[in-house]
């Protein structure tokens, strides 16, 4: 979200930007370890207080090889995005070998209380489907967890495969980060 200074003469390029920030760096994950799968978006120190809120949207696809395997969807947040909160650990029974699934991950972060001993709630929803008969949607999160607004915080999507049998690959194409309040 653009931040303007008093007295600034704003040009058309600045005025016509949208309400979010976009990153189109592609991330690829083909391992079992939880891996960064979006930009680590920055929430600067002292930039938030109680009632500040953000939405992060990540979009991409994942492709199975000759074996359907499970996959693990997490949110990274806090300093350096190091705190990991699960959205879902989906089992292989949700998927079919040799298919391509498209996905969205949408995360909402709301600061409940500002300060060094502050708190925030974080919710994430993953939704995915293919052109066949597979679809899975799940929501999970953390409620009023420790969140220090006086230090630099980050927010990102984390992903890992339950197994890499058959060589599955997830690719996220872009993420959009919005400050809502």
């Amino acid at each position: 979200m653009a931040v303007y200074a008093a007295g600034q003469v704003v040009n058309s390029a600045e005025l016509n930007t949208g309400t979010g920030q976009v990153d189109q760096t592609a991330f690829t994950v083909s391992v079992t370890a939880l891996t960064q799968a979006s930009k680590l978006w920055d929430i600067p120190a002292l930039s938030t207080t109680g009632g500040s809120s953000f939405r992060l949207t990540v979009i991409g696809k994942f492709v199975f090889g000759t074996t359907a395997v499970g996959n693990n969807w997490y949110m990274g947040w806090g300093p350096s995005g190091a705190t990991q909160t699960e959205i879902v650990q989906a089992s292989s029974s949700n998927y079919t070998a040799s298919t391509t699934m498209h996905f969205t991950v949408i995360m909402h972060l709301v600061v409940n209380v500002g300060g060094a001993s502050g708190s925030a709630s974080l919710f994430g929803t993953m939704a995915s489907g293919d052109t066949g008969s597979d679809s899975i949607t799940w929501t999970n999160g953390a409620i009023q967890s420790a969140f220090n607004t006086t230090v630099d915080n980050g927010m990102m999507f984390l992903y890992g495969w339950a197994a890499i049998t058959g060589g599955p690959v997830l690719t996220s194409y872009f993420s959009i980060f919005e400050r809502l309040s």
Partner: protein
Amino acid sequence: MPQYLDGQIVSDINLNANGAQVNNTVISGTFTSPTNITTLWDIPANSTTSRSAFRLTAVGTTSMGTTGLNTQWGIGYGPNAATQFIIDQEAQPASAVWYYTVTVWVMVNIGGSGGQAYIMGQIRAGQIPNNSVVNWTLGVLPAAWNTTVDNKLSILGNFSASTGTPVFTNNCSVLERLG
């Protein structure tokens, strides 16, 4: 979202507007082929480049008649929204009323006449009482997208037949420019 020009004197009303446009025209009918159930939202020629992003949301209901049929939702995009992509098709029981939201994201990845965009759609629907639910996500990753011409974006809806006179009713749509 309004488009501003260099040198334009922008009022506080302009600056304090939300980054979204709302159209609350109700579009209703017994559609048997993919039909625009939202307004044709305009993305003007040369108004986007790499990293331009949009989110389109529509809400409404599908009311099945005396015969169960397939209900489907899709995306119209490109010049005149003439390129159609189906997100999902679901069997809707007779006499069931589904409340739905459809969300579509467009992110221009490459600008120009040979450009491309990532287009993703998501349909969620449910019925009261809670005996049916729909969640589906599918898109075009990537799609050809010429930023030098006028493009439109819409959401499509239809039934597999008109038997029993089912009714699609879209109540409103919201277009947001995100990037």
